[in-house]
Amino acid sequence: MQQKKMAAPCGRMASRPLLQFLSRFSSSPVGNTGFRQFSSATVCRAAFQINEAAERANSPWTLVAAVYLQRLPVISADCSPIEQQFKQMLHQIELEKSVLSDHELRLLEDAERMSRKQADDYDSDEEDSHGDQEIMMAQDLEDIWEQKMKSFQPAPRVRADVDKDLTSAERCLADSLVLLAEQEVGDEKLWLLPQTRWQEGETLRQTAERALTSLPAGFKATFLGNAPCGVYKYKLPKAIRTENSIGTKVFFFKAILADGAPPKTKKAPFLWVKKSELQKYLKPAYMMKVERFILDL
């Protein structure tokens, strides 16, 4: 039987599962109550923070929240040679064990009827009346389907030119990509995950959301929870260290890019990188802490 693959990797179609997930997350009222519950919990925590602000102000660490924005893979990864062989073998076994389907039975019946019609001693009165089936034979149906399949052009899975463009969010559809921004830290410009300083009276997650919205290109993202997924501590060099500032602590929050790639602005200091390419851009100490929570599945 012909297998029409459901997973034809058309550019728009494959992003449907993500859209659906996010639409359920955002538009269904039940999902919203989930969100509302979280925010109320964080409001309680904010109240606590205001009370403890006096104690907090004495802490010598500056708090910074960063957002780990990722674009999920759009198509499934290619199988390795062993996986391909195994897949073929399983397919073969299934085919040999399977029973004929309705369509195939109809094909056989029609072929048999044709051969009986063409025989010399054919008596049409003996035949049962299959009105519809004589007009549209099963073979004709199959031919029509073949035609439709040939006229369908799936989008190419891998596009070499887009893959090399590091600023495009459409590169490497089979892997998950991380957003890197070039920001000024102290005196130098560094490539790191977008971050901003924490202010009094807001939760760390709100700081991370602010970090995301402060980027010039408007990315829409869904945050995956209130708890941070990683921490990076940075002590200032001894020359600059004072009593009030020993260093900074950076908290990372996970977020998923919502669909709808924003219009590409030239000279925007963003990069979409795979985990394997991160090493070229990040500092080693920073990289060590960051790669612990980046899942490379």
Binding site: M6, A7, P17, F21, G31, G34, A41, F253, L295, L297
Partner: protein, 212 residues
């Protein structure tokens, strides 16, 4: 002389004892010297007194199971509510057109939860919904049935989910989501539970009559 005689007599007595013991199972009449064998007669079975009596019994070792009533109304499991650090009862709903992919993905989620130690309260399937795709005929205005698509749903109910574990869990689920499968995570409500049951119009009619 006497000790010798006594010894001889003792040995003879011993031999008689041995002979008697050997012969008793065959003999019908009980002997006076061996009161143990007095209790049985030909018609009684002898195995209850055997040392190996009841050696094959094992059902008394099983834990006591309450006898199952056949018509047990489906009780709803307790819906946990959210606390400060954990979410309450969540429903992970997986749906799609391809049944093998949907089922495999739901099995993957279940195994993943077992591995992470997340308690899975329930794992069930909702009824399949059939969608008929009708296309317009090229010549006329009538539509004809082109294809029938079946949407399959699988639900995995988690009793609690730690808030710190949530981002990691969701990340892994989203990264492994196959093409053509929709994933949605919602809170479990009683309405969701009641929606699984079939409506019984006669019963509802009778209840309405009673209340009136």
């Amino acid at each position: 002389m006497n000790p010798v005689f006594r010894k001889v007599q003792a040995s003879v007595a011993q031999q008689a004892l041995l002979l008697n013991k050997a012969l008793t199972p065959c003999r019908a009449a009980p002997s006076i010297r061996h009161p143990v064998w007095c209790t049985h007669s030909v018609n009684e079975r002898q195995y209850k007194g055997m040392p190996t009596h009841g050696i094959g019994r094992w059902k008394y070792l099983l834990p006591k199971q309450a006898p199952r009533k056949k018509k047990d109304k489906q009780q709803m499991k307790q819906i946990m509510s959210a606390t400060d650090t954990a979410y309450g009862t969540l429903n992970v709903n997986v749906s799609g057109y391809d049944m093998t992919v949907v089922e495999h993905y739901s099995q993957y989620i279940h195994n993943f939860c077992n591995r992470l130690g997340i308690k899975v309260a329930d794992s069930y399937a909702l009824p399949t919904k059939s969608t008929e795709v009708m296309l317009m005929q090229e010549q006329g205005t009538k539509t004809y049935v082109d294809a029938v698509l079946k949407t399959h749903h699988r639900v995995i109910q988690l009793s609690t989910l730690n808030a710190a574990l949530c981002p990691v869990f969701m990340d892994v689920l989203l990264k492994n989501q196959p093409e053509g499968v929709q994933l949605s995570v919602t809170e479990h409500t009683e309405a969701d539970f009641q929606a699984r049951f079939k409506a019984r119009p006669e019963l509802e009619g009778l209840i309405a009559q009673m209340n009136q």
